[in-house]
Amino acid sequence: DAMVIQNPRYQVTQFGKPVTLSCSQTLNHNVMYWYQQKSSQAPKLLFHYYDKDFNNEADTPDNFQSRRPNTSFCFLDIRSPGLGDAAMYLCATSREGLASTDTQYFGPGTRLTVL
């Protein structure tokens, strides 16, 4: 089945130690998104790629970076995780352009713990 896959499902890192979360998709969608979801809060968009074009949300901290080496893969890099970065990180894709009618397809998420 076509899907959005996130690895690992659970990640533990130490304060200040760089960590990378990965997302892959078999849907061949143009757009990939990364959201941060803290406990009892709404998912918050960090950035997205439209094909190879990277778009950062204005309030996304510089500590968060992303890479998309090809259509299928997208990575979230947290350069120096702080305790406040502990959250569920959701990857999503959408098929075409950035139409507001597009359905977004989500992966299962990676739960990040920072010690």
Binding site: V4, Q6, V31, S40, Q41, A42, P43, K44, L45, H48, L90, A92, S94, G97, L98, A99, S100, T101, D102, T103, Q104, Y105, F106, G107, P108, G109
Partner: protein
């Protein structure tokens, strides 16, 4: 800018009882509206969406939602819930004028009791 409010963080309901999960939004422009469901240990899945046309939209598993522009609401309802409906439900809006972004509510955890 848009915002979404889901006032109920948790809704317990007995099996076969009806349920309504509330969603209100605020926007200065026209919006599209979505309900997503997140089952335990899974990603968010689209349940239903309102883009235009009939204000009542339905999903394949018996949920429905009605867009009420005057009340800026998009409440989700099901006349008879099952244990398998236990999940977290997120309401989201996007700006119909063309931006792609979803603004999510904080979610409502539906717990169906036997």
């Amino acid at each position: 800018a848009q915002s979404v409010t889901q006032l109920d963080s948790q809704v317990p309901v007995f099996e076969e009882a009806p349920v309504e999960l509330r969603c209100n939004y605020s926007s200065s422009v026209s919006v599209y509206l979505f309900w997503y469901v997140q089952y335990p240990n899974q990603g968010l899945q689209l349940l239903l969406k309102y883009l235009s046309g009939s204000t009542l939209v339905e999903s394949i598993n018996g949920f429905e939602a009605e867009f009420n522009k005057s009340q800026t609401s998009f409440h989700l309802r099901k006349p008879s819930v099952h244990i398998s409906d236990t999940a977290e439900y997120f309401c989201a809006v996007s700006d119909a004028s063309g931006t792609y972004k979803y603004i999510f509510g904080t979610g409502t955890r539906l717990k169906v009791l036997a």
